[in-house]
């Protein structure tokens, strides 16, 4: 009996202690042990300076991340802080459910908000207000299979980039040579092999930007611009005439050695350990006249307006994204702070990428623009999808198909 009393009393004390502690819940989409370890280390620093505050990271699988986060918000159970992907950010900002972090960031000691590059902050600002702070600003890069280039006796994309010859024309040229020298293989696979499905915009965007265009800009569809048509025509020819790009309905995984090149971000470098072939990264090919149009994928920290501890949550975000926080996160997530981008720690100490490769990453962040975003991205993508499917037919008229895409998405822009 005495034992029961002791147990009950202990439970009550524990519950009282828990109730008095401020519990900050942070939703993230990583389940990687090293990532979570680092995040907890950063949170420990915050807890040390804020006694009685507890920080808990909650992993939501990446495939359903935005959806589940939305359900939590709708169900009145929004986390205090969350990671947010670039394509979801505008819808959340427009719904007025995110906290304006500006006052807290400006008041935070040595924060230096101006240290973040303007292109990196564009998505998270609305007027003078800042609704999120990017922690990962990851440019798209070309990953290449060095062995396949060697077999074809070709200079690899890095060498070509160094000579200033890595452009879209060269990309098409070497692709043909790669396929000729590596029978049964492809020269190029779209990002994550999803270029005809969930990553259709990621497939189109790099070539279109290289030709000076964009998917959409200032409420106008850009897919029927002459540059975009030329870019897509070239890719279309590579798929169906040259047969150098993995075609729709076929799998040709770069990471398994089925394709010589792909586009991806540095987070995928960890997969290369198991790939079993020599590899490298290079910038995206420039336009036919050397125009650069790097593409950046992004994720940021946001605080929900409904959080009962939103001021505290904003302080946590400030601490995790101050110069020290961003420098620590840069081990895994490319930073948007100029001071960290040029730092020795970022450029020379990545466990997967050489300092030379990291130079391409830093240049991509500095010059790049975030992937086209919009508050109605899900509807836009759904409207695009059937028209883009029609584009990826062997006999498609590229210009007409792109006009069809624009006709479908313009009302939504």
């Amino acid at each position: 009996m005495k034992g029961i009393f002791t147990l009950t009393a202990s439970a009550m004390v524990l519950m009282a202690a828990q109730a008095s502690a401020q519990d900050l819940r942070v939703a993230v989409y990583t389940s990687s042990e090293p990532h979570l370890k680092l995040l907890n280390q950063l949170a420990d620093g915050f807890k040390a300076s804020h006694p009685g505050v507890n920080v808990r990271f909650e992993t939501i699988p990446v495939a359903d991340y935005t959806q589940k986060l939305s359900f939590q918000v709708a169900g009145g159970k929004a986390p205090d802080v969350a990671w947010m992907m670039e394509d979801a950010a505008p819808a959340f900002i427009e719904a007025n459910i995110l906290m304006d972090l500006t006052p807290v960031l400006q008041a935070f000691p040595n924060y230096d908000l101006a240290d973040f590059t303007d292109p990196a902050m564009a998505l998270w600002r609305k007027g003078d207000q800042v609704y999120g702070v990017p922690f990962s600003t990851s440019p798209f890069l070309i990953y290449y299979n060095k062995a396949m280039f060697d077999k074809a006796g070709l200079e690899d994309p890095k060498q070509l980039a160094e000579k200033g010859e890595w452009n879209m024309t060269k990309f098409q040229e070497v692709s043909k040579q790669l396929v000729a020298a590596n029978p049964g293989k492809y020269a190029f696979e779209f990002k994550d092999g999803e270029g005809y499905a969930s990553r259709m915009t990621h497939a189109l965007l790099p070539p279109i930007r290289a030709y000076g265009g964009d998917l959409w800009e200032n409420g106008q569809c850009g897919l029927e611009s002459p540059g975009a048509v030329k870019a897509v025509q070239q890719i279309h020819d590579m798929v169906f005439k040259d047969k150098t790009i993995v075609p729709p309905g076929t799998q040709g995984d770069y990471f398994s050695g089925d394709s010589a090149m792909t586009v991806n971000q540095i987070s995928r470098a960890s997969k290369m350990k198991e790939a079993g072939f020599d590899w490298g990264v290079a910038p995206l090919p420039t336009g036919p006249n050397g125009e650069e149009g790097p593409v950046i994928g992004q994720a940021g920290f946001v605080v929900f307006e409904a959080s009962p501890n939103k001021e505290l949550a904003a302080e946590l975000v400030a601490q995790m994204t101050d110069k020290e926080g961003v420098a620590a996160l840069a081990q895994f997530f490319p930073p948007a702070r100029r001071s960290v981008l040029t730092s020795d720690a970022f450029l020379n100490k990545n466990q997967y990428l050489s300092p030379e490769m990291m130079g391409f990453v830093a240049a991509g962040i500095e010059k790049g623009r975030v992937v086209a975003a919009h508050e109605r991205v899900p509807q836009i993508l759904a409207a695009m999808k059937p028209r883009v499917d029609a584009l990826w037919r062997p006999d498609a008229d590229v210009a007409k198909s792109l006009q069809g895409v624009c006709a479908a998405i313009q009302p939504l822009l």
Binding site: V73, F92, I97, Y196, S198, G249, T250, K385, D389, A390
Partner: protein, 308 residues
């Protein structure tokens, strides 16, 4: 107090309140109460909620909801051409899947209802896909049906046929999802038919045989009519299942190509959980509910007519 009680019991012919009938009724209610409670909470509650949602314009993120009456239904039925396209796709899917599934299930059941060496192995082989994860099934078929270098097309190439790009051409994609779905689910209907076939007394067949009926005549005039109730159940369940198909489409085609396999359940998911338009998605769900109910009633009434 005592006198009033005795007065009342006297007036009511001393009938105890807890009669045998009442006790049975209470016991009955107590027995069904857990199920009833579950039905109310998990079925009737959401069903009522969905009617309320369907009449609102609810922004899932901001939480703002306004009453819009029947606007969502009008949007679907009168203004949105996508809805009719999606409904057509669902109808094509059902019309392709149900006859194929029922015919194949019946064929397999007839072949495997009699005992022979290894029958259990064959039944297991045909039933195994039913218990396989739908997602794993779809992933494997997606690999098999690749346009270039896919195993199916490689096999066709051996006999000189150039296979299509199965999942990238709208008509072939629909055919591919129907056939792969049939192969996945046919085992369930096969088992139901086997059970029904085994319940038919052998005497009927034997008597008909003695009268000189051919095997086809026995099947057409005796077995098939006796399988009627089972066929009804199978057709109703398969039709409902075909309208509810989601996971298969989600993984194999994502509704593409060119919306060629965008069926109603997937469209509802898209509206509700990708566009966060819960009001419109709820209205669509109610329309689907009505369609499936009407189809079921038609099938039941046709069956009654047959019986009459």
């Amino acid at each position: 107090m005592t006198s009033s009680l005795s007065h009342r019991s006297g007036a009511q012919a001393r009938a105890p309140w807890l009669t045998l009938q009442r006790r049975d009724a209470i016991e009955g209610w107590l027995f069904v109460s857990p199920t009833l409670l579950g039905f109310l909470i998990f079925f009737l509650g959401p069903l009522i909620a969905i009617f309320i949602y369907a009449m609102s314009d609810w922004n899932f993120l901001s939480g703002e909801a306004t009453f819009v009456g029947l606007t969502n239904f009008e949007d679907a039925l009168l203004e949105n051409p996508d809805f009719w396209h999606v409904l057509r796709n669902s109808a094509v899917f059902a019309l392709g899947l149900v006859p194929l599934n029922v015919a194949l299930a019946l064929f397999l059941a007839v072949a495997l209802s009699r005992p022979f060496r290894g029958v259990i192995i064959f039944r297991t082989i045909f039933f195994a896909p039913v218990i396989t994860s739908a997602i794993a099934w779809a992933i494997v078929w997606k690999f098999m049906l690749q346009g270039e270098g896919g195993p199916i097309n490689q096999m066709l190439a051996l006999i000189g046929i150039t296979g299509p790009n199965w999942l990238r051409e709208p008509n072939w994609a629909m055919a591919a999802v129907i056939v792969t779905r049939v192969i996945k689910m046919v085992g369930l209907n096969m088992i139901l038919y086997i059970a029904a076939l085994q319940a038919i007394p052998r005497d009927y067949d034997e008597a008909a045989g003695l009268e000189g009926a051919s095997r086809w005549q026995i099947f057409r005039l005796i077995t098939w009519p006796l399988l009627g109730p089972t066929t009804l159940v199978i057709v109703v369940l398969t039709t409902i299942g075909s309208f509810k198909v989601f996971d298969h489409i989600y993984q194999m085609t994502g509704g593409g190509p060119e919306n060629g396999t965008l069926v109603l359940a997937f469209y509802i998911y898209q509206q509700g959980f990708q566009f966060f338009d819960i009001g419109y998605a709820s209205a669509l769900a109610i329309i689907m509910f009505v369609i499936v109910t009407i189809l079921t009633l038609i099938q039941v009434s046709l069956r009654r007519k047959d019986d009459a």
